[in-house]
Each structure stands twice: as structure tokens, then as C-alpha cells.
């Protein structure tokens, strides 16, 4: 595969998956600027390894793992590249409101999700948004199924506790 083919192949993959990946980046990172940086850094790494990624049975799993690792990187914030007003990659619209949840509850719950430790938040996003199984989540997080259970359980407990405090 020459460079042009490689580039075209990668571009086709990104175009097919970009909305899904962008949403994952936003949910993992919690704000637009961070999500833009996370998404571009992760995809740049994926592009670097594209010859291997495209041959993988589940390229999405690989890409998710890159994104989670990138998001967990403790020094990433130091090196974030900031977009100019005209160079943004993502647009984030206010949500219309989840059915069955009042607006204030929805906002509170989102804020509490954002305040979770990164690994717990990643576990919650992968389990509840991406609908991954515990085994798949463990694969993406690079940990055991037991650790996924632990992360998820602690996250849910923390969310429940914080939501209870908010409504008390």
C-alpha cells in the first residue's frame, strides 16, 4: 500500500466513524477543547500505525483504546494544542434534554460524570454509552474484568451518592 492508498484508506475509515469517535472523545474528556485535542492526537497515532490497524479484526477497539490511553495520559494537558476560533474541529450543541429526566437533574448528573476519576469515567462511558461488555471494556482499558467491575461500581456509587446529596 503506497502513501496515497494508505491516506485514502485512513480517510475513508475516519469519515465513516468520525461522529462516533468525536462523541466518545467528548464524553471521555468532558469539554470541546479537550475533546478536539484528544481526538486529533489519537487519530494521528492511529494513522501512524494504520498499516497494522486496518488489518486488525476490530479496528474500532484499537482506536478506542488509543483514545482512552491518550485521555489518561497525565501530561497531556500540558501539551494541549489550542484551536483558533476558525480552526475548531468539533461543534457541541446544548442537549435538548433527556426524556424522563428534568433539565436540572440531567445537568447535575453530567457534571458528576465529569468529576469522576478518569478510569471510572472511561469505564462508565464505555459500558453505558458504547454498550461494551465488561470483557470488551477491560480490553480497551487494559485491565482485568474485575477492575472494570470495580471502576463501574465505584462510579455508580459515587454518582448515586452525589445525586442523593443534590436532591436531599
Amino acid at each position: 500500500m503506497d502513501d496515497a492508498e494508505r491516506r485514502a484508506d485512513f480517510t475513508a475509515y475516519v469519515r465513516a466513524r468520525e461522529q462516533s469517535l468525536a462523541r466518545l472523545a467528548y464524553l471521555l474528556s468532558g469539554d470541546r477543547d479537550a475533546a478536539e485535542d484528544l481526538l486529533q492526537n489519537a487519530l494521528a497515532k492511529v494513522y501512524r500505525h494504520w498499516d497494522r490497524v486496518r488489518g486488525a479484526e476490530l479496528p474500532d477497539a484499537y482506536v478506542r483504546r488509543v483514545m482512552v490511553n491518550e485521555n489518561n495520559s497525565r501530561w497531556r494537558g500540558l501539551l494541549r494544542r489550542h484551536e483558533s476560533p476558525s480552526s475548531h474541529v468539533l461543534e457541541v450543541l446544548d442537549p435538548p434534554g433527556a426524556p424522563g429526566l428534568d433539565s436540572a437533574t440531567s445537568i447535575d448528573l453530567w457534571h458528576h460524570v465529569q468529576s469522576l476519576p478518569r478510569q471510572q469515567r472511561a469505564a462508565v462511558v464505555l459500558r453505558y454509552y458504547e454498550d461494551l461488555t465488561e470483557a470488551q471494556t477491560a480490553e480497551v482499558l487494559g485491565c482485568s474484568i474485575g477492575t472494570v467491575k470495580s471502576h463501574t461500581s465505584r462510579a455508580i456509587s459515587a454518582l448515586r451518592s452525589r445525586m442523593s446529596e443534590a436532591t436531599a
Partner: protein, 442 residues
């Protein structure tokens, strides 16, 4: 499912629904990869152990953060400037003899004795360092317009008045004569030129091909002769040879992940093994900077200045610096403190970089003598992007303004700067945009 579960899923769904991609994400990712590669090429001072960490890209481990080697934040990065620095004892380096009697210095982040004060306004002087911008080579007061579609990407002076010019990131090099006309096209991934421009090598897929100043081929060192992989690593993973400097006709090249190097005399075709893995070579004084593998459990990066002839280590400097170039006369080393992937132990207490984007180290004693781009430096957020130091004791710096524009400035070692080329915008308004000025490599 817990009572909170349905609500949690709904909230994540609704938040995700509001996210839209509004740019060509694939193009932007490819541009960022290019930008990251530029960082890697710009920061060759990498310790062997860390290079080895990416030598075995077995599956996902290759892209885990812990598997990434530190990279300097390169020319096109719009990096968040460090916002603080650790309180540290005075003095830029402390000396502590080791059992091997190698003078060992620690770059501990203490403020340099001189902080660069970048200038503002229009050009008020010139630089002796040639550069190319927007298709024109500036060499002192002389200007050479490049023909064809060449706009620049890298620049080196060749003997006989010619130049070696790369076009952007296309992996194509042109030998350009003194009138600016292209005479020879060469394909390759990186170039290295000796001090007087009489010999240069182009690296392509781990093989080195040497040329004379006119672009005539002198010899080739094929990747198949490298024997570059340690036991247990596939040859297919080997990067082959990587030229790090040329002294006269002798090309110094690292041998993949082996931690060793070769000195290849292109005039005679002979090769000899060189201990260690130099990352920068100084032709003027016959010295080299060699990365030192960290001790087990240590995250500290160390570099040694060694004498190329005797192999003697002149000093060892440990600290969060990535060295990028010697000055033309070998009297100084230029480094950056903006390093991607530093361990927390190598950051300041507030998790900012200990050093700015430009650090000048004196080679005679390893002392940090000047710094630019740190949070405590004056200059209103201006940051050094790329730099070269001639033999005249001044550093020519491409300076990034907070507006994103880049200017060229010449700074003396007492920290005073003058503008030598005006502010220019980068090619595109994205963080990975190409910088407008390319300073000559030699």
C-alpha cells in the same frame, strides 16, 4: 441495572448527540501526525533505552502512553506555555563526582542566569544564519529566489554556493544551484549535511546515500548491513541507520535500537563501530552528545558530551532537556525543555515544565547560560519555535507570538534580541500549520 443506570445512559446519549465534526478530521489527524514527526526529527537527543521502548511495537502496547518516547514540542506546536517553575536552589547546575569520575551535572530547573527578552516591532538587523521563507533563500544581504514550486521545508548550505532544500513534508530534496534553479532531485526522509556543505547524506528506509555538493552520488550504506535489531526483535521492525552528523567525510549514524553507532567514511568506504549512540555531532570540536539509558526505575534523562576521537566523556548532564543542535563552533548546545511524555518526577511541583522552549548550555562545563520561553521569562507569551546558533555567539530564533505569527530574531547571550525578519502567518490557521521560516541546518 441500578436505578441510576437508565438516567446515566440517557445523559450520555444526549450529551453525545450534541457533538458534530465540523472539519476534515482525517486531514487534521494526518497533519498532526506530520507535526509529531517533525518533533521527532527535531529532537534526536533521545536516550537509547527510551528508543528501545518503541522498538517492539507489538500490538497496542506501541501506542500506550508509557510506550512513547519523550518528544520535544516542535516547531508547529501551539503549546500551552508553562505557568510556573519550581523553586530551586540558585545556580543552573550542580557538580557531583560519580564513582566513574565523570563530572555529573544536574539540570534542576533553577532559573538560568540570563532570560531572553524577545523584541517587538519590525526588522532592525540581519542574521548570519541563512533561512528560507516563501520561496526565497535569505543569506545575509543576498537573496536567492527558488524556482519551480519550491517554497521550503528545510535548508542546508552546500559547497560551491548551492543549497539543499526540502519541499514541505513530501520527502523530496532538491539540490539548488546559486541561482536558485533545481539541478538534482533526491527522494528520502531526512538529510544531514556536513559543516562546509561538501558532503551530505539522505536517509531513506534506513539506508544512507552520500552525495557531494553537486548532488553526485558518492556511496551508499544499505540498511541490510545494519544488523540493527537486538535479540528477539524482528529485522522488519528495525529503522536501519539514522545519520546524526557528519565530520568532514565521516558520517556518524546510529544503528537502530542497538545502542551503538557506526562511523562511515564516505571517501574511503570504510566503516568502524562507535560505542554508544551519539544523537548530535559537533564537527568544530570533534565532540558528540550521547544519550544515556536511564537506570532501572529512574525516569531521569541524561546525556553525555564525549570526545569523538578518544571516546572520553567530558561531562554528563541529567535533567529534563532534549538537545537539538550544537552551535556552529561547538561552544554551545541548544535544547528545549518542552518535552512530550515526561514523567511527573521530571516536572515542576505544579506539573509544568522545568525549562522553557530554548535552553542554551555551554559545552565547556555543561552550565545552563540562557533560557527563553519559560513562564518566568519576559516577552509577553512569545515563545521560541526553532533556533540555530552561529559561531558569532548569537542565537537566531523563530519566535511564535500569541497571535500565531512567527518572526525571526537574533539574540545575544546577554538576552537582548532584535528582529531580523518580520512576523509572518503560518500556512494554515490550525495548530499544526507549517512555520514560515526554515533556518539552515549548517
Amino acid at each position: 441495572m441500578n436505578p441510576i443506570d437508565p438516567g446515566l445512559k440517557q445523559v450520555l446519549d444526549e450529551r453525545g448527540e450534541g457533538v458534530r465534526v465540523v472539519a476534515d478530521l482525517a486531514e487534521r489527524a494526518i497533519a498532526r501526525d506530520r507535526s509529531n514527526r517533525r518533533r521527532e526529527l527535531g529532537g534526536t537527543a533521545l536516550v537509547a533505552g527510551l528508543v528501545l521502548a518503541v522498538a517492539v511495537p507489538a500490538g497496542w502496547s506501541a501506542v500506550r502512553p508509557t510506550g512513547d518516547r519523550p518528544l520535544p514540542v516542535g516547531p508547529s506546536a501551539s503549546t500551552t506555555a508553562p505557568t510556573g517553575r519550581p523553586s530551586a536552589p540558585t545556580g543552573s547546575a550542580s557538580s557531583a563526582p560519580t564513582p566513574t569520575s565523570i563530572p555529573t551535572l544536574t539540570a534542576d530547573g533553577a532559573p538560568a542566569p540570563v532570560m531572553v527578552r524577545f523584541a517587538t516591532g519590525g526588522p532592525t538587523g540581519t542574521t548570519t544564519v541563512p533561512y528560507v521563507a516563501d520561496g526565497v533563500i535569505y543569506d545575509g544581504t543576498r537573496q536567492v529566489a527558488l524556482t519551480g514550486k519550491l517554497t521550503g521545508g528545510s535548508l542546508a548550505r552546500l559547497g560551491g554556493g548551492g543549497w539543499l532544500v526540502a519541499q514541505g513534508e513530501t520527502g523530496v530534496y532538491y539540490v539548488v544551484d546559486s541561482t536558485g534553479a533545481n539541478t538534482v532531485r533526491l527522494d528520502g526522509e531526512s538529510s544531514t549535511v556536513n559543516a562546509d556543505g561538501s558532503v551530505f547524506v539522505i536517509e531513506s528506509r534506513g539506508s544512507l546515500t552520500a552525495y557531494d555538493a553537486a548532488g553526485a552520488r558518492i556511496g551508499r550504506l544499505d540498511a541490510t548491513t545494519c544488523d540493527c535489531t537486538p535479540d528477539g526483535v524482528s529485522d522488519a521492525e528495525s529503522p536501519g541507520y539514522d545519520a546524526v552528523g557528519i565530520v568532514g567525510p565521516v558520517v556518524y549514524a546510529s544503528r537502530g535500537f542497538t545502542g551503538s553507532s557506526v562511523a562511515w567514511d564516505v571517501a574511503t568506504g570504510t566503516r568502524r563501530a562507535v560505542a554508544g549512540s551519539p544523537t548530535l555531532v559537533d564537527a568544530a570540536r570533534g565532540t558528540a552528545l550521547v544519550g544515556v539509558a536511564p537506570r532501572p526505575g529512574s525516569k531521569q534523562v541524561c546525556n553525555e558530551l564525549t570526545d569523538l576521537t578518544s571516546g572520553r566523556t567530558i561531562w554528563r548532564l541529567c535533567g529534563p532537556l532534549v538537545f537539538r543542535a550544537f552551535s556552529t563552533d561547538g561552544a554551545y548546545l541548544l535544547a528545549t525543555g518542552y518535552i512530550d511524555g515526561l514523567d511527573d518526577s521530571q516536572l515542576g511541583p505544579d506539573r509544568t515544565f522545568r525549562y522553557g522552549g530554548l535552553v542554551v548550555v555551554r559545552t565547556s562545563d555543561g552550565a545552563v547560560v540562557m533560557e527563553a520561553g519559560s513562564s518566568s521569562a519576559p516577552g509577553g507569551g512569545a515563545s521560541p519555535v526553532s533556533y540555530r546558533m552561529g559561531g558569532d555567539g548569537t542565537v537566531t530564533v523563530q519566535v511564535g507570538a500569541t497571535t500565531g505569527d512567527r518572526s525571526l530574531q537574533r539574540c545575544t547571550l546577554d538576552g537582548e534580541c532584535i528582529v531580523v525578519a518580520p512576523g509572518r502567518a503560518r500556512d494554515t490557521d490550525i495548530p499544526e500549520g507549517e512555520d514560515p521560516y526554515f533556518l539552515a541546518d549548517n
